[in-house]
Symmetry: none
Subunit: 220 residues, 2 copies
DNA sequence: TTTGCAATCACCCTTTCGGGTGATTAGACA
DNA sequence: TGTCTAATCACCCGAAAGGGTGATTGCAAA
């Protein structure tokens, strides 16, 4: 309607008036973007969305330190209401923990308010293209997080043999002993033997506990 | 010994001779780095480390597509042997799945072999400073991964009733129907009924699959 | 008010698990 | 060479799980 090739609709929740207006106006200078509306709190945003069924935005710039409900707390509410929105967090400092929480909550990127306006637009562009802006230190933070999640090396020396691991993996996929025996070309009895042994190694007494350990990365 | 302020020790595992030599020689041109030794396979690296107790490196450049044991498969072996090493994966293409797996396995960064030598050195420097080099597309990939892990919003509307959730949680803890029935002061038959219904909601056919969905955050 | 559904319980029957015991073979290691 | 262990297989037996059908109660929404 306004632009020939659908501009990306941007919205913003930020309580500091000057930042809200400066950033939104600067972004609006670019033809590829259209800043429809800005808000000063999660509550006012949510209210507006709830009374405007047709509301939509592609990218939402969201301040972390909002009065009332914080930006992070608001993410779930926003995601359930605005379909397909990409959230970029606006941070005052590069607070690593906050950013990690935001990302886990569903934000897809973040940018410091101290960044230049051109940098902010660059970040928005990256998100528009399906990417995610991330500084080296935050990237490392996230990488470490994934590592801790998955590995947790030799905590209680829960290492299984290759065969036992293979079978445990299959158990976690919901396969019965019979199915596993056919896949591995061995007898059901053999599968049972492996299962019994791996239960002893893991000090569990049934499939459910073994799968829980496996999926929580507490094995091998 | 060679440098006044401890150069960062770099090592490398790469089967392509030209890449191995070009990259290592270029890195070695910088005083801040010292490339001690390079290898052409995980096996030769592991062997060398095992027979040289004093071996150490700060940063290891690791090729993903190695003959024999792949780079990703080798990560756990490397991490258990070389204390505090930071692994940078060398990829031919920016294969998102591979990179994600590498990071979960314990790599802290990656860089395309097609990058310029200066870019590679930049990436190494970022890692040396405790950061992690990450392209926007990979960053987004990782962000999505974290999101799916934790949230998994209404993808197929896998929401259970409170009672069903309560029982599913108990199943994941390895409890039998009998135990659950006693804890909740209901009949075993009732527990069975709830289990049957939640299986249908989750479209699974046994405890193992239900627990897997639950632990992977794909429920509720 | 009727319809819908969550929660409760029961009975039938088959399959799957889990524990125990014991045996063979092949490779690793001392 | 003897020992050890992983991997393979077998049989017994009771407990647990899973599928189906059917029933009652009570609450909430249409």
């Amino acid at each position: 309607m306004m632009h020939s090739n659908n501009p990306t609709i941007i919205s913003m929740i930020e309580d500091m008036t000057d930042i809200r207006e400066n950033v939104s106006k600067y972004i609006a200078l670019h033809d590829e973007f259209e800043v429809t509306q800005t808000f000063e709190s999660i509550e006012s945003f949510i209210h507006h969305v709830d009374v405007s069924p047709k509301f939509h935005c592609d990218i939402l710039l969201l301040d972390v330190g909002l009065p009332g409900k914080s930006g992070i707390e608001g993410i779930p509410d926003i995601l359930t209401r605005v379909n397909g929105v990409d959230i970029i967090m606006l941070t005052t400092y590069e607070e690593e923990e906050v950013i990690l929480k935001s990302i886990c909550a569903g934000a897809c990127s973040y940018i410091s308010k101290k960044s230049s306006l051109t940098q902010i637009v660059d970040a928005v562009r990256i998100v528009k293209m399906g990417g995610s802006y991330m500084s080296p230190s935050i990237a490392r933070e996230i990488v470490s997080y994934l590592k801790v999640e998955k590995i947790a090396k030799t905590p209680t020396e829960n290492s299984l043999t290759d065969r036992q691991n293979e079978i445990l993996r299959s158990l976690a996929e919901g396969k019965t002993y019979k199915m596993i025996s056919k896949e591995l070309f061995i007898s059901v009895e053999t599968v049972r033997t492996h299962v019994k042994k791996l239960y002893k190694h893991l000090q569990v007494k049934n499939k459910a506990e073994a799968i829980s350990m496996y999926l929580q990365g507490k094995v091998k």
